[in-house]
């Protein structure tokens, strides 16, 4: 049978409450007591009962990952990072996929909150900037951390300088001799897409290349949208010599579009993506892309959230580093 806090108290010759204080790192316990209790906890292999703790303490020890329809790979990485942080802190991760409409979002959130009463929430794009979700969380006074928010002011969470990353990527393209560089934007709801577009424009300006709106088409982050957008760019009278897609899935779509017309990447057209998901390495040619430390971002966001849960003024916005990876899908353009 599992030992209870009472058993620990008895074995250590102290009251239940003292054991509780030690376990929760509360003040007002002498060091000597603390050590005595910890020794018994160790000896008895005592682990607090989650349900009892939640019931008495009015906390659930649960945090929810709220998401909409992110790329599977992205979600998986975030989730892994969060799991790590949760395990280290004796917290429990609950997955909270929500629907697309306003009503479904609210309903789905309600179900999760009524059932699990999470102590906090981590938001990933595009929900990071969703007014319906944010309003719900604020109305319910739930702590939340944001990953890659569009408006980071006053928020806690994690972000990366995506604009700088894109500038660096674009600079690499320019250095290889490209002047006509196309861009496939991601869905506007993703804050990140604006930054990526911003990086694209800044890089052009810096390189003294005039912005040509024909070279910028809208995508939706999906492989299929990448094919379509790629075809649109390749159909231009003067097609680009390189295409920067706002994520890897769309870049893979561009490669397919190119292959289907008999073009060879990168000989005839250079392609690059963003995220460094597995497909970037598995596709042929391997994609030039930007690596985000996605799993770290999940872990760090969770740590900020837990800090905030423990103290209303703790936690902040953490920044992580990117890495630009030039691989096989880019090379100097062919001169005609």
């Amino acid at each position: 049978m599992r030992s209870r806090i009472e058993d620990v108290a008895a074995a250590a010759g102290v009251s239940m409450k003292t054991v509780s204080r030690v376990l929760n790192n509360e003040p007002n316990v002498r060091d000597e007591m603390r050590q005595r209790v910890m020794a018994v906890v160790e000896k008895l292999q005592y682990r607090p009962n989650l349900s009892a703790r939640s019931l008495a303490g009015q906390r659930s020890y649960v945090i929810a990952l709220v998401y909409n329809n992110p790329s599977r790979n992205y979600l998986m990485e975030i989730q892994n990072g969060m799991l790590e942080a949760c395990r280290d802190n004796h917290y429990n991760l609950v997955l909270a996929p929500v629907g697309a409409s306003r009503q479904r979002k609210v309903d789905d959130l309600k179900v999760v909150f009524e059932h699990f009463a999470p102590d906090g929430v981590v938001l990933i794009p595009p929900l990071t900037d969703d007014p319906v979700v944010l309003e719900f969380l604020e109305a319910n006074h739930v702590a939340f951390a944001c990953i890659a928010p569009k408006h980071p002011d006053g928020r806690i969470g994690v972000m990366m300088d995506e604009t700088a990353a894109v500038r660096e990527l674009m600079a690499g393209l320019v250095a290889r001799g490209h002047r006509r560089i196309g861009h496939i934007k991601g869905p506007p709801a993703h804050g990140a897409c604006q930054w990526r577009f911003k990086g694209y424009r800044e890089a052009l300006r810096k390189a003294g290349i005039e912005y040509d709106e024909d070279l910028v088409v809208q995508g939706a982050f999906s492989f299929e949208s990448g094919i379509e957008a790629g075809n649109r760019l390749l159909d231009l009278k003067r097609p680009p010599t390189a295409i920067f897609a706002a994520n890897d899935d769309m870049a893979a779509g561009v490669i397919r579009a190119a292959c289907e017309r008999g073009l060879v990447v990168p000989r005839d057209i250079s392609v690059c993506g963003f995220d460094d998901t597995p497909i970037a390495r598995h596709i042929y040619p391997a994609l030039t892309t930007v690596r985000q430390p996605t799993s770290d971002m999940g872990r760090l966001a969770t740590m900020q959230l837990l800090a905030r849960i423990r103290a209303a003024d703790a936690g902040g916005m953490v920044h992580v580093e990117h890495e630009v990876l030039f691989r096989e899908s880019t090379q100097p353009p062919v001169r005609h």
Copy 2:
């Protein structure tokens, strides 16, 4: 403030226990009562408190997905299916990744069990057949469901006739004129790999093609192992005209290996995989493969598990259908 069972009881003019009975679908309640209670539950928007329920009822309403290092896509699909079943049954999914060594497996399981006390567990390959894990679960009398177990006898869970699927896939290759067909095996710990290999051999026999062990090489389910295995097969004095890799990631590796030697798929060599993960459609040429209803399998396994949790003799082994998808990566062989 959230309403409690006491509020419902008062408003319905019955005892708490009656409400409890209604909520838990227990017998011994008149239909009239049941309806009266349900109406109040609806009106008060009553939702039981999970912690209190767990504490009093000695159940956690948690099931754990125990996994080792499956393909990310596979895991994601299983997880989605399980989430669906959990939500429908007011259960909570906890993710339980475990380490590789015997000791780590046991330690990691212990942590999860001490913390969450899951009412049941779903096992996916290769853990479905892991003696350490199975022994632990049996010793702790925990209900568990298996997905694609090597030894389904007496187990509950879900499986697919993978041997038949491979026979069908191979028959398609043979019908297109292939006689020298290579095979890249998956890691032996995966029960499924033996079946896939069995299907390969049975298809050869049926087609009257002699088994040639040079055409069968060992892989590890990873993209990298696919490259290596692909190279080994393509290096043969008489290389195969088609290669069946035991999963999509390895098939993608074969395509890369072929591309790097300047071969064109499927003109010079046909390639097929298994699983129909996203990469199968995103790669060029799109992979011929076998679709498993992975998400359904997660859902169905969870449903069997919940049945077993509710009644010690309920639940069983469910079978799901496969689908062979011929896409771009296969065509008749070139005649020399």
